[in-house]
Amino acid sequence: MNPFSFTRPTTVPDALRAVVRPGGRFLAGGTNLIDLMKENVERPSALVDINRLGLDAIEDLPGGGLRLGALATNADTARDARVAKRYPLLASAILAGASPQLRNAATNGGNLNQRTRCYYFYDNTTACNKRNPGTGCGAIGGVNRIHAILGASASCIATHPSDMCVALAVLNATIRVTGPQGEREIPFGEYHRLPGDTPQRDNTLHPGELVTAIDLPAEDFSAHHTYLKLRDRLSYAFALVSVAVALRMEGDRIAEARIALGGVAHKPWRVPDAEQALAGQPASAESFARAADLLLRGAQGQGHNDFKIGLAHRAIRRALRQAAAGTPQSQTDKRVA
């Protein structure tokens, strides 16, 4: 861990000013950033604690949406009565992640911006383009059980580890940010990015920009949704494959489908073709399998993670069945519904 300056501003403009020096980082819950500092992966020169900015509210939006403050904790968000009622998919995804202790500290903004769990990214002695651009990718040809099967590049095969973000992708959330150039809104699908040849960039946030809130549109998927997470133990492990599904049903038919995959790519993975293929279809094994095919089109294993392709196919079909039947996966009863 390197020496750094520490400030704890109380206004957003002060925070933006404080973080501009090169190597400045916002500190929210610290559950990811501090770990990475201890491993000498992140070496910020300035830590700007943003917990006093008052961005921790959860507020109704005119028109029926909901605004989640960037500094609201994952725990408070999942347990908020409005989230639980109107966006149970989000609550479920959050509760599928980490541990109660971590969720109590972790914030929504931090969750969006958490970094990959790639072993090589965490280990300074190995090659990693994301940590040290140009050094190569240790995971390609290495231990890559947890790595991407979709959207990877020759530079990086890391995944984005968040559960919450998989639900936010399905819910068409909007990220509100503010920075030196003022405020802007980023549609969720454009927030995280694929690695390409610049894997050091996880997302489209500009340097010095602060996430202030996550807006959820006024849409109701509470009747037909699920978050199904498969991992190496029954709790407290990152997803090998996860699936968030939100359906609008009209009788036995699917009127609208949204599906996102976690644990398989550098960003929550959505495929418009797959969702369109389900629209107007009956909730049947055949239509689910077709959607799974389309979602996994082009999937490519790296050796240790080859199994993820078959596993994801099954997980997608199961999750669609859960959502269509209105029997979402419980995050406490570990039996898969």
Binding site: G138, G142, F307, R317, R335
Partner: protein, 753 residues
């Protein structure tokens, strides 16, 4: 007062150190406050093999607060000969000596120790030390290492070569029912909660006091004396509390060596704590390959056992385990052949981890036995009973006791085994396949010469002491109970001291011998106090005890009274007052004695267990839930059913981890374990653990050890992974012969119909 009835041997009292632990008063090795402490942070090497070409320390040395950087270039003199670096538990070979020279033996090897006035400065400066290497070809792939498989002529002390009987090859060929199975176990790291740490206090007179995370303070003392050519009298090693170890603290680890080296160089107090990542750079359970072939008659009688295994070691030491013996000992079978060897990889030396050898070898053997029972079409519990042996089949000796039959019966009854339907895939609930599996566990019941002292003061307070360790197992409590039992004192009047090398001699805490050994030593010491008291009492005028012998009196409630006439007695305080004694102080040593040695040769001494597991499998997705475990244990006399149960529970949880989760994954290009943190090295969490029922079956055994105690620290893990794996087969009809059984090995990867 009849407190003694409730606290002595056999009673389920709470841990006597519980309050200290839950209130944070118990201090661990890195928590002892020392004025003027220097903080050392270890710099770990990046390559698995080769030479350090250069170390660039300039930037690190420029950081204000850095005192010194220890490397192979400037380290103080240490002993030259390997012999001086051996500890009591060291396997044959040349022990690793940190900062000895420019050679790199394994990835993560310590290459420098940065010493600074604060931890933060040391840690920062450590990140600025840069090394360049000449890298040499290496191999960490255990499968490739099979080409170098060998058995060294010099064996580890604890190694017992398998003894063959009959003609296993011919019997196997002739057997009407055969199974042959090859198994693999991934490398596991101990991962105790507390990381290895040492606080070395420079006493000013050349002496040092070392708070160390260890399972044997006297082992560390003697090791340090050898390495630094110091008089053992000038070294005091203390480990009053240990946050788990599972075997990783049997041998002194490199942080204590580095901390003492630094303290001697700077003539100051020094603390060195490993990081979690560095916890993956020393001992580990060896990776293993095992091949089992069994032959049987159609009625399920075993006729042939062939059991062969290889475990991993380093290139500089030859670690060996007893892997193949267990199955050969346990089953009635006229023809059995065992074969074992090791294969070197370029990692640190593997080491003992909870039930070393048995956790691996018995597990795989019991998985093979399950395959055989299935092949013979016999219920796997019935199969084991048909091949039950009353004697140790490999050594041809009787056991001091073996209540395994009772363990099978009581475990099966508690589990409801009779309701099992035999065919795989035949039990289902909802979407999940249900599987029930059984396995046998076996471990040694060892005893190790141990001394203890006892000091009774006139106010009725007793202190018992021994250089034993309590790594969370309950040694404090067991010592208190052995003392309470003998002298009839309430636990509140007893102080237990352990974890201090200056106390009476005790072995390292391992092998599950601690309770039996130190318990016996404390009992002996307390009996000696009792004798002295009785003698004094009988010298009193009009002694109510007359000339009764020790067997004719009873110690209870602070009094000695006649067994036949409890009204006739005298208070201990009164006896001491009358005799003018301030204190009675004794030290005794429990050794097996001559009769013990003869018994050792003539009889086998083992613990046994029967483990029953229930799993529920969502086959389509490969999600396995271990919903129930019953572990019925035959371990002689149980000193404290509560702490003993905790040991079995912990063993079972670790066994579930072995079956399903634990795996240190190496990148063979880097020769390095990659998932070196708690997020990615998985041990079971609460959600992975269902109902665990522990049963101790009655097994009176006055012969096995002086107290009739066999020890329970390790038996809980042995066989548990097999019971889980066998249950997974019963649920799914699929044999997974490589542990851990992760999701990818189970889910049905066939394309959809």
């Amino acid at each position: 007062m009849n407190v003694m009835q409730n606290v002595g041997i056999g009673s389920a009292i709470n841990r006597v150190d519980g309050l200290q632990k839950v209130t944070g008063q118990a201090r661990y090795a890195a928590e002892h406050p020392v004025p003027g402490l220097v903080y050392g942070v270890i710099v770990s090497g990046a390559v698995p093999k080769g030479r350090i070409l250069a170390l660039d320390e300039a930037e690190a040395r420029a950081v204000p607060g850095v005192i010194e950087i220890l490397t192979h270039k400037n380290r103080p003199h240490i002993a030259w000969f390997d012999h001086s670096h051996k500890d009591m538990v060291a396997p044959p070979g040349s022990p690793f000596k940190a900062l000895y020279d420019d050679r790199i033996h394994f990835s993560g090897q310590p290459i420098a120790l940065v010493l600074a006035e604060s931890f933060e400065v040391a840690r920062h400066a450590a990140s600025l030390v840069r090394a360049s290497y000449e890298v040499e070809p290496h191999n960490t792939d255990f499968h490739k290492a099979q080409a170098e498989r060998f058995m060294p002529s010099k064996k580890r002390d604890s190694f017992q070569p398998p003894k063959n009987r009959g003609d296993a090859g011919a019997a196997y060929e002739a057997a009407p029912v055969k199974v042959s199975a090859d198994f693999h176990l991934a490398t596991e790291h101990h991962n105790p909660m507390e990381m290895h740490a040492s606080t070395v206090i420079w006493e000013g007179d050349g002496g040092i006091t070392v708070f160390d995370k260890t399972q044997g303070p006297q082992n560390v003392r003697d090791y340090l004396a050898g390495v630094f050519n110091m008089s053992a009298k000038n070294i005091r090693v203390m480990n009053p509390y240990v946050g788990g170890a599972f075997g990783s603290g049997l041998r002194p680890q490199y942080q204590v060596y580095l901390a003492v080296m630094a303290a001697r160089m700077l003539r100051r107090s020094v603390r060195v704590v490993m990081t979690r990542q560095q916890m993956f750079t020393h001992g580990h359970r060896p990776e293993a390959l095992q091949s089992v072939q069994l032959g049987a008659e159609r009625d399920g009688r075993l006729t042939a056992i062939r059991n062969s295994a290889t475990t991993s070691t380093s290139r500089y030491e030859n670690n060996m385990e007893n892997v193949v013996n267990w199955g050969m000992m346990n089953y009635a079978c006229e023809n059995a052949a065992g074969e074992y060897a090791i294969a070197p990889v370029d990692t640190a030396t593997s080491s003992d981890m909870r039930a070393p050898g048995a956790a691996t070898g018995m597990t795989f053997f019991e998985m093979a036995v399950d395959e055989m029972a299935h092949a013979a079409g016999i219920d796997p519990l019935e199969f084991r009973i048909r091949n039950y042996s009353e004697i140790d089949q490999m050594n041809g000796t009787p056991f001091t006791s073996k209540a395994l039959r009772e363990a099978y019966a009581e475990g099966a009854a508690a589990f409801g085994w009779s309701r099992r339907s035999q065919a795989p895939r035949s039990m289902k609930e909802g979407r999940e396949l249900v599987g029930w599996g059984v396995a046998t566990g076996m471990w040694d019941a060892m005893f190790s010469k141990t001394s203890a002292s006892a000091r009774l003061t006139a106010n009725g307070h007793l202190e018992v002491a021994s250089a034993a360790s309590d790594i969370g197992t309950g040694t404090y409590t067991v010592m208190a109970q052995a003392a309470a039992d003998t002298l009839g004192l309430p636990v509140e009047q007893i102080t237990v001291r352990l974890g201090d090398s200056t106390l009476p001699t005790a072995p390292v805490e391992g092998g599950s011998w601690m309770a039996a050994s130190v318990g016996a030593a404390v009992q002996l010491a307390c009996r000696s106090v009792a004798e002295k008291l009785l003698k004094a009492a009988e010298k009193m005028e009009n002694s109510p005890l007359g000339s009764a012998s020790l067997d004719e009196v009873r110690f209870a409630g602070g009094r000695i009274s006649l067994r036949d006439d409890p009204a006739r007695g005298v208070a201990i305080a009164e006896i001491m007052r009358a005799a003018g004694m301030d204190a009675i102080e004794v030290q005794e040593t429990a050794s097996g004695g001559i009769s013990g040695m003869i018994s050792q040769m003539r009889k086998s001494r083992n613990t046994h267990s029967a483990i029953f597991a229930e799993v529920r499998v969502d086959e389509e997705l490969g999600v396995i839930r271990v919903t129930r475990i019953v572990n019925a244990v035959a371990a002689g006399r149980i000193i404290n059913p509560k702490t003993a149960r905790s040991q079995i529970l912990g063993g079972v949880v670790m066994g579930i981890g072995m079956a399903m989760h634990e795996e240190s994954m190496a990148d063979h290009r880097y020769g390095r374990f990659m998932n070196h943190n708690y997020a990615e090295y998985h041990v079971p969490v609460n959600a992975d653990i269902g109902d665990i029922q522990v049963i101790f079956v009655d097994e009176p055994d006055p012969e096995v050890t002086p107290l009739g105690v066999k020890g329970v620290g390790e038996i809980g893990i042995v066989g548990t992974a097999a019971a889980v794996a066998n249950a997974i087969f019963h649920a799914t009809g699929k044999r997974v012969r490589s542990l851990p059984i992760t999701i990818d090995k189970v889910f049905d990867a066939n394309p959809l119909p």
